[in-house]
Amino acid sequence: MLNRSSTLYSCLLLAALLTLAACGGPDSGELVIKPVSAEELIEEVRAADADLVVVNFWASWCVPCREEFPEFVRYRRESDPGDIRVHFVTVDFEEDLPFAAQFLRENGVGGTTFVKNGKEGPFINAINPAWSGAVPATAVYDRDGNRLAFWEGKVTYDQLVRRVNEARQAS
């Protein structure tokens, strides 16, 4: 009896946890790729209501972006959403958005992600005047939308954690 109860309890607990993960995780909900200008993106950062917001700029055709992407997905899922949120912004051209959506789904990303809207130059310069426009690129913001860190190029999970922590300490 005890064994059966324990098994039932374990199953219920597992089901509850899975349901919670599915319902409340950052990747829950239908995938939406929302067009944003640089200014709108900063509004989204402020609206995230998190201490730090990591924004990863990527493109479906960019090999290093595709290679590092799972690391950001892992970081997004493992982070406390009140502490750290991870947003994805694709810079794909309009005709490539179906590939971007397919890639996001393949990586289990759901909910709202973003796509650069408008001309590349003003967008890139508004995000960071020093940004060459190359992807992948990543920015770390505080809850008020102030940029704390920015880098171009691919990073590993450990490098990502370290850089976000450094950004936090420097703020």
Binding site: F93, K119, E120, G121, I124, S132, G133, A134, E152, V155
Partner: protein, 207 residues
């Protein structure tokens, strides 16, 4: 012996510190400064047609435009028709045009000589499409993107470096034609109003 050990430990510590401080992300190469001389001018490179040529041999009476290129970069694809149209127009006005592929075909076979030949033929490029083996020209130019434009005057001095225009993704939205303006000013013999712009594009995959 103790002094030697101490020196050795100090050197090792300094080496480790130096290695630790090295950036983990590749930094952009610094592009040539305005006024710099045309690098690798006489270096022989293979054209898509199989013939050998050099930047010097491709110079026009009014100057030379070198554009770093790729067969696969979406930004290049966006600019391809615009660059072909500019080349047709300005080659007729005396500016030599070449494009160069500096990507490592060992890592990216679709950027290799055979693919270059096929690409040039399919697209009907009006300019030589050069294989920049070892990325030697790109490194000498400080190029880091495709497409990235370098425009030289008749004295082989750099007068413009950067992007083609201000709207890579949509030709209909172009407001600033930096490359065209620079060529017009070069031909007119007037000062180049915008000498450097940010070259948006794919990173060159160096050898």
């Amino acid at each position: 012996m103790t002094v030697l050990n101490t020196t050795c430990r100090t050197a090792a510590f300094m080496l480790v510190t130096w290695l630790f401080l090295q950036p983990t992300v590749a930094q952009d190469r610094q592009a040539l400064e305005i006024g710099a001389a045309l690098p690798t001018a006489d270096r022989t490179m293979q054209n898509a047609t199989g013939a050998a040529t050099s930047f010097s041999q491709q110079k026009g009476d009014r100057g030379l435009a070198v554009v770093f290129w790729s067969n696969t970069c979406p930004w290049v694809a966006k600019y391809e028709d615009r660059v072909i149209a500019l080349a047709r127009e300005y080659m007729a006005a005396g500016i030599g045009f070449v494009i160069a592929n500096a990507n490592d075909p060992g890592a990216y076979p679709e950027e290799g000589a055979q693919a270059i030949q096929q690409h040039a033929s399919t697209k009907g490029y009006p300019f030589p499409y050069l294989v920049d083996e070892g990325s030697e020209a790109a490194k000498a130019f400080g190029a880091s993107r495709t497409p990235q434009v370098f425009l030289f005057d008749t004295n082989d001095r750099l007068v413009y470096e950067g992007t083609v225009d201000d709207s890579p993704s949509d030709a209909a939205q172009v407001e600033e034609e930096y490359f065209r303006d620079a060529m017009n000013q070069l031909i007119a013999g007037t000062a180049i109003s915008v000498q450097k712009t940010k070259a948006f594009g794919c990173t060159i995959k160096f050898y």
